[in-house]
Symmetry: C2
Subunit: 463 residues, 2 copies
């Protein structure tokens, strides 16, 4: 049954046309045009009269006329129902078709697209259990915004996470929940820099950051990237945004000396630690923030890559001196992060379920990574080169021969593959040719098949 | 039990200090400093060895030394646990205190603050049921982002809602889910206007809009507001944002002639329909969008005022010709709206539970509004004037006598009241003095008490 309540009638009390007649006209047209579909129960006259601000008698008179003329039928003791007027209904449907509109088909995840977790391995059932548990035990936690910085239990869980996984001791008071990476960047640059300020950005780096800065009227200062990660800025910048754990997109880890050099020269330094949970070999590297003695570092973390992109949850860890300015920015621009996932995620982390999931995904991705790298060496040893950084969710491949990059993209796309050209990430120019390929979203068989397709796509282009 | 996994050790394989010794040093210091708290179980040596990339024997040797020196204790068949070293732990806690940080106390909702629903009347239990049901029946709907415009079932439910409540026929393909009003505005102005473009904004109006425009490098062109709502722009503007159903903050409804005049001159017109569900007298007014024959109107709706501010869910309805540009904007700047509330809200609307809630709230607010207006007339007839527009969640009060507005704010604040000065809403200058008071968040007794306090606060200032 439809719950239409037909509130949208436009009656004019000053018209010479009586109100019941106007109401009849509106309803009969709606039934004719299919806006009120066949079989729909019209509202009880008493309720409807109150809704639209007329007397009950007016509604009853209009209903009587509808019934008399066949637009509606009264069923004994069960109300009044719109009659089927199918030909005209068809006409309207053809014109507007809200209920015949097709649901969009999600784009398939094509090899070797990157940047999102494999949602086939998402713990849907377990997550649903936690959702249900929070809904029952602390329902206000799902819908009430407690603080402009986000849900307190989640901020506590993140503080514990950073202590255990990243070697940083921070108070939950320093944690700010965001609606993902772009939201976080907008908050940071507005809190530490003004219009026309220079912002140090890695080249190559995450293209979204440059767009955020430009949209907010700030100017990117490009930081070259060498084997040790981002180089120092060559001019005074308000803030630099760097990826010391795993340079995006090239993958290197910044050594301690370079970290200290950045700390020494920075006004503010954003450590974008987007996927540090995924290190497959060697020992985890403590966060740059752990070295900060001068309240310069803003740490940015994300659940989009490690857990679910759809929840739109990320976080910032800010030094004490930035707490008041950040509250101002949030007050001015409004909070974007939904409360609904926050408490659930907090309980999920507290119980260790989150860590079990991350470990499971790391095992899964480690195997996929090995399969991907082995396949690359088998098939592409002559034309592609890569460095094994033992971390991350994607691998940057460099061409060792001169290839027509446009033709490469065209052939890959025709083959149903999605490998991002490395040039996309060089906002500051001077691009190295190559491809950024993700290996996390595909099982070993898909990887093997994807690499075969890639080989076939590139074969005609190699000398 | 803590789930700490102590990943943050920094071992150096090239050091002359053996690895087990380095690990022992790191762990003993962590226990001393309280980073590993007393009673915490250390990870099983096999798992820990794999996590930090050393041999199992290395971990075992470090553990043996910790046990030997009293930093840890082995419990037969139950693992190794950190010992209580309480004095030094205290020292660390005093310094960092992540787990002793105080949860922020939410600000109490003080009379007569406005703009958010009364969450005491939120249907927590029913909402929790829907959350649990979606979690069980369609768990992927909670965490997977299906489309950049939002969840399809929610877009269908909103399309049906607009048909039934607002008299507009739109396809769900035209509906874009947003993370609330500011997010929606950013999307709209970026889709229809460029840097330095002029944007028509009501004066008085919603201050957030002017901030959004300025942040994005656009220029506000102020539209005067008279008894019929926003006046026409006096220069060419890329887009105007108006509130025809219930002018914010003054409350008038725009008559048909003014609506048509806006439609005639506009390039783009945003109809901000933020609380049209709350009309208490007379008949509902169809949306301006229903008059649009030229694909000029962008409709903006919100669940923040009518349902829950914490969910951060709003929506835009855009004409067909704006669909492709809007997809581009969303791709460029990233989606902010969380998927998690979307499917649940869709099911909640489809079943009619949403409408029952809205009707319940309207009944509740109607009573509160009557109490508030009656109290105003009783206590403030000599100094405050207002117009009864029969709609909305707040009332704009104008002073009929010359009052010291700073002193008014000071006295109201001292009395524990929160009434926004009307001047706040006049971004374009020329403010009328007065107060914007919300009546929805307070029951009749609270309203009566608040008005008494307000009377006492204003009494010393009235001639």
């Amino acid at each position: 049954m439809s719950h239409a309540i037909f509130l949208s009638v436009d009656l004019d009390a000053r018209s010479t046309n009586p109100l019941f007649q106007q109401l009849y006209d509106a309803l009969s047209q709606s039934i004719q045009k299919g806006r009120i579909s066949a079989g729909t129960q019209l509202p009880a006259s008493r309720i409807y009269a109150r809704e639209i601000g007329v007397s009950r008698g007016t509604v009853q008179a209009a209903y009587d006329q509808l019934i008399a003329e066949g637009y509606a039928q009264a069923r004994r003791g069960a109300g009044v129902y719109a009659t089927d007027i199918s030909t005209t209904a068809q006409e309207w449907v053809a014109q507007i078709k809200p209920h015949h509109a097709k649901a969009p088909v999600p784009n398939p995840v094509r090899p070797f697209s990157h940047g999102v977790p494999d949602m086939r391995a998402f713990p849907h059932a377990l997550w649903a259990q936690y959702v249900g548990r929070v809904a029952r035990a602390e329902p206000a936690g799902l819908s009430e915004m407690s603080d402009i910085f986000g849900d307190w239990p989640l901020r506590c869980a993140i503080s514990a996470h950073l202590r255990d996984w990243r070697g940083v001791l921070v108070s939950p008071e320093q944690v700010v929940i965001t609606a993902g990476a772009a939201d976080a960047m907008e908050l940071v640059v507005q809190a530490v820099a003004g219009k026309n300020a220079w912002v140090g950005l890695e080249n190559p780096g995450y293209p979204m950051l440059a767009r955020v800065c430009k949209t907010l009227g700030m100017r990117p200062h490009w930081l070259a990237v060498d084997a040790q990660g981002a180089c120092l800025p060559t001019r005074d910048v308000a803030v630099s945004v760097i990826t010391p754990s795993c340079q995006y997109p090239l993958g290197s880890t910044m050594p301690i000396a370079r970290r200290q050099a950045h700390l020494a020269v920075a006004n503010w330094l954003v450590e974008d630690d987007y996927d540090s949970e995924f290190r497959y070999t060697g020992r985890p590297v403590p966060a740059l923030m752990a070295l900060d003695r001068q309240q310069k570092v803003i740490y940015q973390g994300s659940f989009s890559k490690v857990f679910s992109n759809g929840l739109r949850i990320g976080y910032l860890v800010i030094p004490d001196r930035l707490i008041a300015p950040m509250r101002d920015v949030l007050r001015q621009r409004g909070v974007r992060a939904s409360t609904m996932p926050q408490r659930v995620l907090a309980r999920f982390m507290e119980d260790g379920a989150f860590y079990r999931h991350v470990r499971k995904m790391r095992r899964l991705y480690r195997g996929r990574r090995e399969a991907f790298l082995a396949g690359l060496q088998e098939h592409f040893d002559d034309i592609l080169m890569f460095q094994d950084h033992g971390a991350g969710m994607s691998v940057a491949l460099h061409y060792t021969k001169l290839l027509d990059v446009d033709k490469v993209q065209e052939n890959l796309q025709t083959a149903g593959l999605e490998c991002a050209p490395l040039a996309t990430y060089y906002g500051g120019g001077g691009a190295r040719n190559g491809l950024l390929c993700g290996f996390c979203g595909f099982d070993e068989a898909e990887i093997s098949q994807g690499l075969q397709q890639m080989k076939a796509a590139l074969a005609p282009l190699t000398p």
